[in-house]
């Protein structure tokens, strides 16, 4: 997820919802699309990890955690085993901490067996600049040494600012920088949808 402008991301809960952007926002993914994308990603993980024996799913708060839990459920259906799932808060590793007021921390919850020697799949809702993932890799380095790290995102909207790419993508969504992508999930927002809207001038002014 992007770190350069919250109004563009799914993590709107932290800085207040940008409801105004919702007027022009149109849904690009609905609940069945999201479910199908997650099912496909789960199958891809099993295929690429050759059975997903050592997979650990780590969601990036807030919505990445819910996506990680849903993925874990689907992986359990496919493999018949329970897949460790946790959360990885990247707030303290962000590169834009000093551009904004200190923000509340979210939960980091590493499954009991840790991440050492395992295949960690990071899960987030929107991949944008890549800075969130950079922070997540730093945070992961302080927790252990995985065998490999992969990245699963629901939406890749482009505009990378770092050499980072996703291994599993729910939907590639070409956007312009004037557009916003908002992911809403039932656990947090009451419904599953991905909204594409236009950035409000005021929202960019509050940076």
């Amino acid at each position: 997820m992007d770190t350069s402008d919250t109004s563009e991301t799914g993590r709107i809960g932290e800085t207040g919802r940008t409801e105004g952007a919702g007027e022009a926002a149109r849904p690009v993914l609905e609940a069945p699309d999201i479910a199908r994308a997650l099912t496909r990603i789960a199958h891809e993980i099993v295929e690429r990890a050759k059975g997903a024996d050592d997979v650990v799913l780590l969601g990036i708060p807030t919505r990445g955690v819910f996506l990680a839990r849903r993925l874990a459920g689907k992986l359990a259906e496919i493999t018949g085993r329970s897949i460790p799932v946790g959360s990885l808060d990247i707030t303290m590793y962000r590169d834009d901490l000093r551009l904004r007021p200190a923000r509340a921390l979210a939960r980091t919850d590493i499954p009991g067996d840790g991440v050492d020697g395992r295949l960690v799949v990071l899960v987030d809702d929107v991949l944008f600049s890549g800075r969130t993932i950079r922070a997540a890799l730093d945070a992961l380095g302080d927790i252990g040494r995985p065998r490999a790290v992969q990245l699963a995102v629901l939406v890749d909207r482009g505009h990378r600012e770092l050499p980072i790419r996703a291994d599993y993508v729910g939907k590639n969504l070409p956007t312009s920088l004037r557009e916003t992508v908002k992911v809403q999930l039932a656990e947090e927002d009451g419904r599953d949808t991905v909204l594409l809207g236009l950035k409000q001038p005021a929202a960019s002014g509050e940076r």
Partner: protein
């Protein structure tokens, strides 16, 4: 937000008094500390968050646990720490607080953690315009010790509500009894103010000579009878009898004090089942607390020390982590707006 005359674009917030914290700010600090506590369980107990920031521990009074607690907290957040104690420094040669502050400012201190024997010294430092940085009160005279109150509230919430269940919650309806030398205790004052803000019912118990003037304006009840209050206390906080401040005959003998206001095993037995015994340390075993109580499972003294590091990490992060503090200083703001 506090804006000092001549201050740069960075606008510091401070932590001077527990009274300045709103309920939501206090809960935010406790919630942040809960996440910080989890860093202690990791193989690498360090976060990069305050890299390149300088925290000065400015200690005009002796203190071991508070200073090393702040030092550990700052170092876990990757800040650079400079320890300054008055003994053997320029202060013993007669330097004033102002000149010391100007020296620290010239060295580029981003935060000053100050302990001073004079009540109000941190407030003076924060409002004087001598320094641009954040000021954190680590105990001033007999006035306040806000981070101690925060760590006590954190310990209370963890024990009485639960570590995970407590997230986002306060201490609504919990009964806390503070026993001992309230007159000289900055810990008691900060705790009364903060616990009241968090919704707890506080009762202070002390010999009449050790109850401060004006206590009727504190948001708490006052009692002189420990045995009457004990059965309805969720937590009892024993204060240290501060021998170094006992410059008058506040009570006849230590034995009598201990008999009437000390906590022993028999008294602890009359407290409710899940209630806890707290002590800010250092303990005078045999005086305000017996060894039996101090070593029991219900005594949280050691836990409080560990929680102190988490709370101070939270305070330093919220004040220094962003471009402006997440915790503002409402009282100073009010004066600023006059």
């Amino acid at each position: 937000m506090l804006r000092l005359p001549g201050a740069g674009p960075r606008t510091p917030g401070h932590l001077i008094s527990a009274a300045d914290l709103s309920r939501d700010e206090a809960v935010l600090i406790l919630d942040t500390a809960e996440e910080m506590a989890r860093v202690a369980d990791r193989p690498i107990k360090k976060l990069p968050t305050l890299r390149g920031r300088t925290v000065v521990n400015l200690f005009f009074e002796d203190s071991t646990r508070t200073r090393i607690s702040f030092e550990a907290a700052a170092k876990r957040l990757s800040a650079d720490v400079i320890n300054f104690s008055a003994k053997g420094s320029s202060v013993s040669k007669g330097e004033s607080l102002k000149d010391t502050a100007l020296t620290l400012e010239a060295m580029g201190a981003d935060a000053v953690v100050i302990r001073h024997g004079a009540s109000g010294a941190p407030y003076r430092l924060a409002t004087s315009g001598w320094i641009d940085g954040v000021v954190v009160n680590a105990g001033d005279g007999t006035h306040e010790h806000p981070t101690q109150a925060l760590l006590d509230a954190f310990t209370l919430r963890r024990r009485l509500v639960g570590a995970d269940a407590g997230i986002g919650r306060d201490l609504d309806g919990r009964r806390v009894t503070i026993v001992g030398d309230v007159l000289h205790s900055r810990v008691a004052r900060s705790n009364v103010l903060l616990l009241h803000t968090l919704g707890a019912h506080v009762t202070v118990v002390a010999p009449p000579t050790l109850v401060p003037i004006g206590v009727e304006r504190w948001p708490c009840e006052v009692s002189y009878d420990l045995d009457r209050v004990l059965p309805e206390s969720d937590a009892v906080m024993m204060l240290r009898v501060q021998r170094e401040r006992m410059n008058a005959a506040f009570f006849p003998t230590e034995r009598e004090y201990s008999r009437r206001y000390g906590l022993n095993g028999e008294r602890m037995g009359r407290m409710p089942g899940k209630s806890i015994v707290m002590h800010p340390g250092p303990m005078n075993r045999g005086m305000e607390i017996t060894a039996e109580v101090a070593d029991s499972d219900r005594c949280t003294a050691v836990e409080q020390v560990a929680n102190g590091v988490s709370i101070r990490m939270a305070v330093l992060y919220l004040l220094l982590g962003g471009n402006e503090p997440a915790v503002t200083h409402s009282r100073l703001n009010a004066e600023e707006n006059k």
